[in-house]
Amino acid sequence: MAVATAGAKTPSPEGPAAGKHPSGDNRFKMLEATMKRHQYSPDALIEVLHRAQELFGYLEEDLLLYIAQKLKLPPSRVYGVATFYHFFSLKPQGKHTCVVCMGTACFVKGAAKIITAVEQLADVAMGATTEDGELSLMTARCIGACGIAPAVVYDGVVAGHQNAEVTIERVKGWLDDVSG
């Protein structure tokens, strides 16, 4: 067993295992806190999944089972919700993410060219992650930054008035960092 790093035991109505995961991973404790705030209500499933993805980066099958058990929901329901919404990812994401907005304004202003350019540069398909796990290329259904179209979100930061050259430069920087 891993050395338990979690805090002191606290009595909980959910039984002795509550708040502490056998792995000793502290993130479970933080996830538990979110569930507790929502009184372990099944209605809070989406909130809990958001928090889980924030903590763990993606939603592993074991994690979904853990949530299902805690919220007293059938695993099918948790899996069904996790796969229904685009925002949840069941696979690990790359170290860097490049999200190209494909809203109408961005589309009209040439977002498709940006995607093709990145796909060719990094040899990665849209919606996938490079083999070395460095880059995930994704699209968004409009991030509401239409005034500065085309927009690209680099690691969570929105940049406006982009074009293929600028994006390539940026992505190259990330990829070169690794090889350099």
Partner: protein
């Protein structure tokens, strides 16, 4: 909290304002254009010149001119600068200093360009819903109260009965701003007359239409106005719990909304016994998870309940059985943001703006191939031409404007020949489009309409929730046919199949997503049919000889399972 406390807070806030304020846009658009470092640089420049006892730098919401950000405005004097960078800060402060000394501004190469405030982009606007946007600090409840905020709520709670509030909204003629245009007063009255001790008010902030960002801007720039509108609605219909369902793609809006709710709760404006009345109301935020269909009201309610966002059949309508089977009032962000001014100024005032059947103003997000990109609030009934050519300033590409797309994936493309149409619910419907939530994307002669229709169909195909077959399978087939047409592989029969299929999907889908998905195809077929027919494989002469090529005219099994390039396509079922 009493009404007198509101006055006190307002006076205190106004007294704390310095004589000159430099407003810096701190909303998503300008932040991504680097406005936060600009704000810091301005603060430093003010300090460096020792003006900090009379001048302050304030982060405010969007000032409409999003394409030219970061935007900075000096108030009360009014000069607005566009595309400001950090190096410009000392020059802006020097100009303020010169003005307060009564001398001419020093010539400085670093002075940024001024925004053309006398341009129709600003002059033709009528800011009612967005009156505070770009003028107050959205992260401070005191700033909202100083601008007259929460007085409409106090008036409703203390001077009006719930029935009077509903009547006022009905009289105003306000119609749902989410796109449908259903009379808001009627909706409120339906929920109000339901017998139930538990009712809900839900704000639909799942602004999914690509090319629309009016709601994001309202949430970021003036969140308290939405809370106030929701609270008034809750009082009118007898609800005590509200939800705002926001898309996860709008992190700043979520942050500001949460902050606003917390501040309102602390001030006693949300919670129990608001303004010492018997009215209790609390609001929680629910975050979406990237499903377009959740903008549909019944799907949205499923999502709030923590389920897959699939629509429910109606009836029962949400007003009768909504969230957790209880009567639920669902309105769009812009609708709620319009409530406070109506209660404050009266129904007659509001009904005096706009046209006979479409009252008030509407906010549009003007984007695409247009000179002036940004948000514009205009009175209903304005001509499309005024928006595109005068306010928007036409196309910057040198090519003529070809069409305007309104209503997102559910709307249509309006050709330049129809630009003399009035912008109201009925007129836009007549020419095959819809008002929609307010996205207006301008396209020029370079844009291919088959490609545009295909783009929207791809969107609907991906976003179809899969619950009903017409939408799930129909959008896939329409997309395939459009791809075929684009690639020059289709025949006249394919075009006929496309039109028939559009008709079926429109008439048999369960919810708005499917029912409206064929709109972009049908409207482009109506106005730009030659762009479709010129790509067909069989020409006029082929048909006259009765030799229509058979392949593609009928769907064989292998046809269904392979894409146009011979690669396996996704199964439609």
């Amino acid at each position: 909290m009493l009404v007198d406390d509101l006055k006190e807070i307002a006076e205190k806030e106004k007294a704390s304002h310095k004589a000159i304020r430099i407003h810096v846009c701190s909303s998503t658009g300008c932040i991504s254009a680097n406005s936060l470092p600009v704000r810091k640089a301005l603060e430093a420049a003010v300090k460096a010149t020792g003006l900090d006892h009379t001048v302050e730098v304030v982060g405010v919401g969007c000032m409409d001119f999003c394409g030219k950000g970061p935007i900075v405005q000096v108030v009360p004097e009014g000069t607005m600068y566009q595309q400001v960078n950090e190096e410009n800060a000392p020059a802006i402060v020097a100009a303020i200093q010169a003005a307060s000394n009564g001398t001419a501004a020093p010539a400085d190469a670093q002075t940024p360009e001024q925004a053309p405030l006398d341009h129709p982009f600003f002059q033709k606007q009528l800011r009612i819903v967005r009156e505070n946007c770009g003028k107050i600090n959205p992260e401070k409840i005191e700033a909202y109260i100083a601008a007259g905020g929460y007085q409409a709520l106090a008036k409703a709670l203390l001077d009006m009965s719930p029935a009077e509030v509903v009547e006022e909204i009905t009289q105003s003629g306000l119609r749902g701003r989410g796109g449908g245009g259903y009379p808001t007063g009627l909706k409120w009255a339906t929920v109000a007359k339901q017998e139930s001790d538990r009712k809900f008010v839900v704000c639909n902030a799942d602004e999914g239409d690509p090319g629309a960002f009016m709601d994001r801007s309202l949430l970021e720039d003036d969140p308290h106005r939405i809370l106030e509108g929701m609270a008034i609605a809750a009082y009118a219909v007898g609800a005590s719990q509200g939800y705002v369902y926001v898309r996860a793609e709008y992190p700043l809006a979520i942050e500001r909304l949460n902050k606003a709710i917390q501040q309102a709760r602390r001030q006693g404006i949300l919670g129990a016994q608001i303004f010492e009345s018997k009215f209790d109301f609390r609001i929680d935020v629910r975050i979406g998870a990237g499903a377009f269909v959740c903008g549909e009201e019944t799907a949205l309610m499923n999502s709030i309940e923590g389920r897959r966002g699939v629509p429910r059949p109606r009836p029962p309508f949400p007003a009768q059985k909504g969230l957790w089977e209880q009567p639920t009032l669902l309105n769009n962000v812009e609708t709620f943001a319009t409530i406070a001014p109506i209660i404050k100024n009266g129904a007659d005032w509001f009904a005096g703006i706009g046209t006979d059947k479409s009252k008030g103003t509407k906010i549009f997000a003007l984007t695409g191939k247009i000179e002036n990109t940004g948000l514009v609030e205009v009175p209903m009934g304005i001509k499309l031409r005024e928006i595109v050519e005068e306010i928007g300033g036409g196309s910057p590409t040198g090519l003529p404007v070809k069409a305007v797309q309104t209503g997102g994936p559910a709307g249509g493309c309006i050709p330049a020949s129809q630009f003399d149409t009035n912008v109201d619910y009925e007129s836009l419907g007549k020419i095959g489009s819809i008002m929609g939530s307010g996205g207006m994307i301008v396209m020029d002669e370079d844009d291919n309409m088959v490609e545009v229709a295909r783009f929207f169909m791809e969107f609907c195909m991906d976003e179809s929730c899969g619950k009903c077959i017409p939408c799930r399978a129909g959008t896939v087939q329409i997309h395939r046919l459009l791809t075929k047409i684009r690639d020059g592989l289709a025949t006249t029969d394919d075009l006929q199949t496309l039109e028939d299929l559009c008709d079926t999907v429109r008439n048999t889908s369960l919810c708005g997503l499917g029912q409206l998905a064929p709109n972009p195809v049908l409207s482009t077929l109506r106005y730009f049919r030659d762009e479709y027919t010129s790509r067909l494989r069989d020409t006029e002469s082929d048909r006259s000889f009765g030799t229509v090529p058979v392949p593609g005219a009928m769907h064989t099994l292998s046809d269904l399972h392979s894409g146009p390039d011979g690669l396996p396509a996704e199964s439609p079922l």
